[in-house]
Symmetry: D2
Subunit: 408 residues, 4 copies
């Protein structure tokens, strides 16, 4: 039985599913669930085309990993077929632990758990199902495999994950300023002393990649409108958790309800119950709950849900990071009181912080392979003033609040 299939992808054209094991993994319910989780959460409120899913991203990253393996082999790096498959599996499954709306709800529904931990638990469970065939992939993912460049391809400041998502998100949002030279960067990859590096003639493409990443952060991932929507959504979750004591009628779908009603920690997430619930949870649960909340008996929840659905979003303003927003916040709350609005202001006025780190100088930096064989940190390899500039982390504070008009 031929399980080699070809998948149409608007970004790369065609993606081959390279092996039967990978075909089986893609067919597994854990992976199929990613069809129901959007890559960019709420960005679709701004970029109407950005409805693409984690499913596509994971396939795209697997495809690029295959390209990277072929490039490295062509440069004399020995990579066995089994290592290639493991690297492709590791990147394919690296996002299994994402919950609904991707990053948006990570800290809201499961405040004490990182999505990478859940990815790892799910990979371990798949490893049992598939007779230990994922052992190497898991080592690569965790960074314990004896050739570190595989882990660097999966998770570093210039990994296959970022290459696919920047390229893909730029494509679906239509933000052409985020265009990067994926193919060229991969062709410039090399391995020196088992470490991933970039040939020095590829340095401008890396500069462009870091710039594009910074632009995508400001223009898309940290777009004001997305953040305002996120504030509303997190507010609703918090309200349901805090104020709706009768969990039998809080409007949540069953799965969301059960997940919200326990305080999951890294000690309890490797239980069958958690896995059952988590692998059933996806964007649908959130949207279905929000639709139910439109008819909630709690007036604030009802207001937030229907505003959210009809895209009547909060206002939002960015401030320099160090500024104290407490007075600003109180003044917005006073405005609401003056307008005679009796809702709990905790859910209607919210402050927070964002940060944009295009490149973090320090430990796991991007390495450049110079023509003379030397390996340099990109900060030292380049006389480009921009790379240094890109390593500045930019932080901002924000205040987001309801437009009182909508509360009339």
């Amino acid at each position: 039985m031929n399980k080699r299939k070809i998948i149409n992808d608007p970004v790369y054209g065609f993606i081959n599913i390279p092996t039967e094991l990978i075909f089986e993994l893609i067919s597994h319910p854990y992976f199929q669930r990613l069809r129901r989780i959007r890559q960019l959460g709420l960005a679709e409120f701004v970029y109407t085309g950005a409805t693409h899913t984690r499913f596509q991203h994971a396939l795209g990253a697997m495809y690029l990993m295959g390209q990277a393996m072929d490039v490295l082999r062509s440069k004399g790096i020995e990579i066995s077929d089994s290592e290639k498959e493991s690297a492709q599996i590791a990147i394919l499954l690296h996002d299994l632990g994402h919950g609904p709306f991707s990053h948006v709800l990570e800290h809201s529904i499961l405040p004490n758990v990182a999505h990478e931990e859940i990815s790892l638990i799910l990979m371990n469970r798949l490893n049992v199902t598939f007779d230990n065939k994922l052992l190497t992939a898991i080592e690569m993912f965790k960074g314990t495999y004896y050739r570190p460049f595989f882990n660097q391809l999966i998770s570093s400041q210039l990994d296959i994950d970022r290459l696919d998502y920047l390229h893909r998100d730029s494509f679906f949002t239509g933000v052409v300023e985020g265009t990067i030279g994926v193919e060229r960067i991969i062709k410039m990859m090399c391995v020196v002393d088992n470490q991933l590096a970039i040939e020095d003639k590829g340095i401008l493409s890396i500069d462009n990649f870091l710039n594009a990443r910074r632009i995508m952060y400001w223009q898309v991932y940290l777009h004001k409108t997305s953040i305002a929507a996120e504030v509303m959504l997190k507010g609703m979750i918090r309200l349901v958790r805090t104020e709706l004591t009768d969990t039998s009628s809080n409007g949540c779908t069953n799965t969301l309800n059960e997940l919200l009603n326990l305080n999951w920690t890294e000690h309890t997430i490797d239980s069958d119950k958690f896995i059952e619930l988590f692998t059933d949870l996806d964007d649908v649960d959130l949207w279905a709950s929000i639709k139910n909340w439109q008819n909630s008996g709690n007036a604030t929840l009802k207001f937030l849900a229907s505003s959210f659905l009809n895209r009547n979003l909060f206002k939002i303003k960015f401030y320099p990071n160090q500024i104290d927003l407490e007075n600003e916040k109180l003044s917005r709350i006073q405005d609401l009181k003056n307008a005679g609005i009796s809702h709990n202001p905790d859910y209607l006025v919210q402050s927070g912080k964002i940060s944009n780190k295009a490149y973090i100088a320090g430990n796991s930096t991007i390495k450049i392979a110079m023509k003379n064989g030397e390996i340099k940190d990109i900060m030292n390899a380049s006389d480009l003033p921009t790379i240094k500039a890109l390593s500045n982390i930019v932080k901002k504070s924000y205040l987001s609040w309801v437009n009182p008009l909508y509360l009339r």
Copy 2:
């Protein structure tokens, strides 16, 4: 207050919202709901990029209508600003009446109502809300406006609707064979005696458009896998309606439940109750219900729902149209019985018909404006043998059935 906004669209780059009225209409909950209805329903099971929504399509069509208006004006056709706005509104709102999964469920949830009728009712309600400002748009939509070319731009065999959806669906599926020359076709549009026509030097672009449409039908809209998924989904709806008599625990979302439990006809759909339910119904209701059905007490529904979610889809085979599939069907049913499967075979084996009409010769044909001023039906204007070939309607029958392996 400036309500002129620009929307990023990955297909056209940027879309201007041209007037305040159009801005208000886009902001209305009836229109925002289209964010939650995928353009291609189940095609995402095959084309992973095809997650785009009716919302984008409607905006894209509005944009193209603006282009068409400008082209016609540049050729000396007088079109007032108000007519231009009305034409853009009519195409913007033409799909308001679509339900979840677009065409998939039209005949399943509301078997006696066409989506165009619902669109019209919703436009009429918006017209009341917006102080009769939609009167001309509605006339254009209905075809009662005194200049028929406006209606032909909204709904004919070469309308703006088709131009946008073919282009957009080709973009998001990655099926490059569906590429059409949208810009060129619009530049070739002209109006003769108030009828829409195409300048004769654009005839090859029309030929290409009809070919692309035919290809998109086979490759995407009528793709076997989509149809198999559709068969399963319709089966679930039918099962819920027919067999689950206790509507309080059938797993449907409230809105879906209420809609399913009444037999809506063209006489009852213009009621406040219907409108309230319909404008709350979207893809989320279906997905949430299917997720609930995974835990249904009805074994067949439980099986269908979890198969559907995990993409374990029915098998399907196409046959020549005239062939009688009754024996084939009985033999599939017998296979199930032999395998000891006790489910009701009505939901596990299903036959049906599809048809692909690239171009329908007859009444509302595509008109070509010859250089000598004459207007000809495209079938007579062209010596291209392919156009005649494209007017053949191709019909096929299909049989779709469960893979018995999945029922072990």
Copy 3:
């Protein structure tokens, strides 16, 4: 010494030069000359972007041949590294015999010689230079290699040559109607009994390819303006040959002059002299000569050359194939006389014929591999009415004449 290089190509992104031998061939003056021969000759008078060269096309075709080899290997066809290299060399060099303006002047400068014959002679000479390493490539090119599918990939109705040029010409002209699914067609290629075939699920892509080819013929290759320019150019060559008896001052570049002054036949072209002249002849010779002709003592040549350079092109009209244009022609000549114009009308009024064969039914047809293992001619494999329609050859006559205004 590492001779593996990467070439940027706007169409495919990056093209690897796969072997040292191929690198040497690309570096050879015979191949570098293709940089100075435009792919589409005079089409640039209409499609301003179409300035691409045979050099790019040859590299692109070599790249696609590499893709095809990999696809066939992945389907179990054994292809040795040496066969792969030979197939890539054969397609790389297949156009070496093209003269200036590609097809335009084939029958004008060298009326008795086909460009394929010259390609073969040049390949044979390269074979001597490169120690017989091109023997297999030459067999593949001639069709004498024992596995015919290699020749079919190089030269048939669905060869790699056409795939690259259609795709590339569509890209550079901006005629999106000519878009084809190159990648998909190659993925659908297979080999049965040593014959090239297409898997039956690729049949729509072939249909689209044939359609696109037909459209590119009408829209680009046989565009009226290109043909009018071609008529002028051929007229100038004929005039120089016929009327300018003093070859020392006819304005031709040396190389063009020497080539024009002998009547080369298939018997004399394999001489060192011919090869020396031919491999020095390129677009530059023609343009330089035309620029000289602007100052010719022959008034007609002077007029034609300066009209051509300033794009004051002849008028042209297409007629049904069977129509006799003699009277029409005489009447145009009479017009010139009436206007008091004394130029020889032979160079100012010209008739001719064109034909567009999207697909030729008959001998070397496109083969489809059916699921049951059978091989069918595409005309029988498909129930698509369009494929039959595409096999109609469309012929037209044309009359092209000077705009008398330009002769004032």
Copy 4:
């Protein structure tokens, strides 16, 4: 007579020729000559797709100017139809003064004249031909028109010229890292106090534009291989001028010869003779001369010409700007002598300098229109550290020399 035409452009799709006057200007021999001048000179030796011409660039810039006019009008800036046409004419004709290979030969053939001066003279002559209809366009071009923003759109650090050429050069070279958001930048343009500015929400697009420009400089405009080819070409011109005293047999085309044999200055270029020669000179003259030089009696010229044609280019190395290359140069010359090579080393070893200025802080800076109405220099408007970094001018020295192998 309808002179409104549509031109296919692979970059923008379709370009309308907006007025009859513009149609006539495009048809004029001065403008048609741009078809024979490549935009990127010798870059085609590296980027095989970069065969596009000044003709396309000028049309593209005219198109973008039209877009800019429409955007500014939509923001309430009054621009008359005649001003719009003049702005489009000014940008259309701004490059008329370019000679063969664009910038490459500016300082070699006409060392004392800037191309902008010649553009102006040609515009003035066209103004006479076209009954003073170009007066305003010329004022805009010169910067004497009373509304400075028109001149800023034609020639400043963020002008329409740069927007088109960056976008177009990135497209044809395939260097995706040079992608810029042309459409978005134009939509962000505004006019404050008759000065061109960018709305502050467009600041990231400007940052991206400056980055892309810097990358295109390193990757394309200052690519080592192009510079090596340029060194060879300039060497040939210098050699012909200096050493070949018998101008009747120096192998130059007539036009090139006449131009080289006089020392044109700004005082003599506005003569009929110069204009006649200059407007006849294009890439063809250079290529035809180089082809003749292959057979020159001067051995060095013969060697350089045939090396150039067959792409056997000089070696080249970049050095920090301040380094003295004299010793390095002498050592290369000694190598040649040691190898027994008797050619004049002046033409075989050459040093020079390049510089890359993405953005020049100072006088005519890019202005940002802040939300509060204030206008700021982009350096102060942005807290982006990269913009400051981009204003560093990077200078390098190079040494380029013949590969002795080629001289055996």
